[in-house]
């Protein structure tokens, strides 16, 4: 993902290296924020805040951890804080706003309909389940990487993933039923 030499150069005070590093990771940061927050503007804000935090705290990174898990820990922490703050209003707005869109897309393309359903279902997940799903499928993290990123026991990560999938499955079945019925 990112060269170790670039990270070391950034840590040693090479500002250009640090900027290059941020450019390399900004998409990953944004995707995580986007799927956790399920809102583009919030995702942009959270991603920028994450990049700024990485910029200021690059010295605190230790090579014993993977850089990508360190980055994703920063992003998920910021997103969870933002999610907790914005959850009531945003979710309501998103729900009302996305629902008609979902119906339109649903009627046009099945795949996108499924993606929208999945995104909506992800948005309904508890924050930890959602984060685990995002890290597992958006960042393609392993159990161990998720555990390192979220400071969770490995079995907890596994159980979160199982429950998240089961919840998603049940929600998607309901959406499919609803979609079919609707």
């Amino acid at each position: 993902m990112v060269e170790l030499g670039l990270i070391r150069a950034a840590q040693s005070g090479d500002r250009d290296a640090l900027i290059t590093l941020l450019r390399d990771i900004e998409q990953h940061v944004y995707r995580t924020a986007y799927y956790i927050l399920n809102n583009e503007q919030d995702a942009l804000d959270a991603a920028q805040e994450s990049l700024i935090r990485i910029y200021t705290r690059i010295d605190s990174y230790e090579e014993k951890a993977k850089f990508k898990t360190w980055v994703q820990r920063i992003v998920t922490n910021i997103c969870i804080d933002k999610f907790r703050r914005n959850k009531p209003t945003v979710s309501m707005d998103e729900h009302e706003f996305v629902f008609p869109d979902k119906q339109d897309v649903e009627q046009l393309v099945l795949s996108s309909y499924m993606a929208e359903d999945i995104q909506e279902a992800i948005n309904q997940l508890p924050e930890h389940h959602r984060t685990v799903i995002v890290l597992r499928y958006i960042q393609d993290f392993s159990y161990n990487e998720i555990a390192d990123c979220l400071n969770l026991p490995l079995n907890t990560v596994k159980s979160y993933l199982f429950r998240a999938r089961q919840q998603l499955q049940s929600m998607l079945q309901e959406y499919q039923k609803g979609g079919v019925s609707g």
Binding site: Y55, S142, L161
Partner: protein, 326 residues
């Protein structure tokens, strides 16, 4: 194998956490269990959909967007650095407080070292200076005894001289032979035996008083090896020479006696400082005549001439060999 367990394995299979053996076992179960097969199909579909979620990208470069903020952070850091650089200037009065502590430690170390060196020096000087006093009882016994011997001998010489001078009138007829000298010395020693015990008694009586004056003691034994040994020799020489002078006048006699008395207190001090010295003194008194027998006898007032003669003889003997005339 139960279905819930297979479903858990399905999840692990989707997460690439199931080994081949368990995978085949799970597949066998799925092949025979339609419910699990349906669940597996749904799960695989969900996982596939999750994996196929669109890789959304930000509609603008986030780094470019945050560049002003990053520059602001850099400026804030520079200001912090500047404030930190200023802080030491303000802290300069504080750092000297820390530095003196270090100096204190270093100073104490240096002071201890210096103090130790100084103490060693002082102690060395003190040891060097007080070695005679320190070893007075140990090593000074023999020197003191020798000194006492010499003092006694010198005293006895003077006594002999005085006694011989006193008794010389009666014993004037005696020759200047050694035997006569011995006899006269024996007489003198008897006289001295009569005299010295009294003096020693007096000295011993004086001992406490003199002991109370350590300065005199300190003066006496301070340089025993060179001075006290030489001093008796000097006094002895003086007493040897005294007869020459005393023969010219009776006043010299008294002076010789005075000198002999002046010598005696030293002996008394030595004896008082160490009672063991008294024993060798007594022995020295008995041995003194033998020692004195070597010395030229100085019997009488007429001995001036004899002594001169003897001195001349001695001188002539010493001079005889080179000249060959005498």
């Amino acid at each position: 194998m139960k279905c819930p367990e297979v479903i858990e394995w399905m999840h692990r299979y989707l997460d690439n956490d199931l080994n081949e053996e368990n995978t085949t076992e799970m597949m066998e179960h799925i092949a025979h269990c339609p419910q699990c097969a349906e669940s597996f199909r749904m799960l695989k579909s969900l996982s596939h959909e999750l994996a196929e979620l669109p890789l959304v990208n930000p509609k603008y470069s986030l780094v470019d967007a945050i560049m002003p903020q990053l520059d602001a952070i850099d400026r804030a850091r520079l200001e912090k650095c500047a404030s930190k650089e200023r802080a030491p200037d303000e802290m300069v009065p504080v750092t000297p407080v820390i530095v003196p502590k270090r100096r204190l430690f270093a100073g104490t170390a240096a002071r201890t070292v210096i103090g130790a060196v100084a103490a060693m020096g002082i102690l060395g000087v003190a040891i060097y200076a007080y070695t005679p006093q320190e070893i007075d009882d140990a090593q000074m016994q023999e020197p003191v005894a020798k000194v006492s011997d010499k003092v006694a001998s010198a005293e006895q010489k003077t006594v002999d001289n005085t006694a011989s001078n006193n008794a010389g009138i009666s014993m004037a007829a005696t020759d200047t032979t050694h035997q006569d000298g011995i006899s006269s010395d024996s007489v003198a020693s008897s006289d001295m035996d009569q005299r010295t015990p009294d003096q020693t008694v007096e000295n011993e009586g004086d001992v406490p008083v003199k002991v109370d004056k350590p300065s005199e003691l300190a003066v006496a034994p301070k340089s025993p090896d060179p001075s006290s040994t030489k001093a008796p020799d000097d006094t002895a020489k003086q007493t040897k020479e005294d007869p020459l002078q005393s023969s010219q006048g009776a006043s010299d006699k008294s002076s010789a006696q005075d000198k002999s008395r002046t010598v005696e207190p030293v002996q008394g001090k030595a004896s008082s400082s160490n009672k063991e010295v008294v024993v060798p003194k007594d022995t020295s008194i008995s041995e003194a005549p033998k020692a004195l027998s070597v010395d030229p006898p100085l019997p009488s007032q007429d001995n001036l001439m004899t002594q001169i003669r003897s001195f001349g003889l001695d001188a002539s003997q010493s001079w005889e060999s080179p000249d060959g005339k005498m």
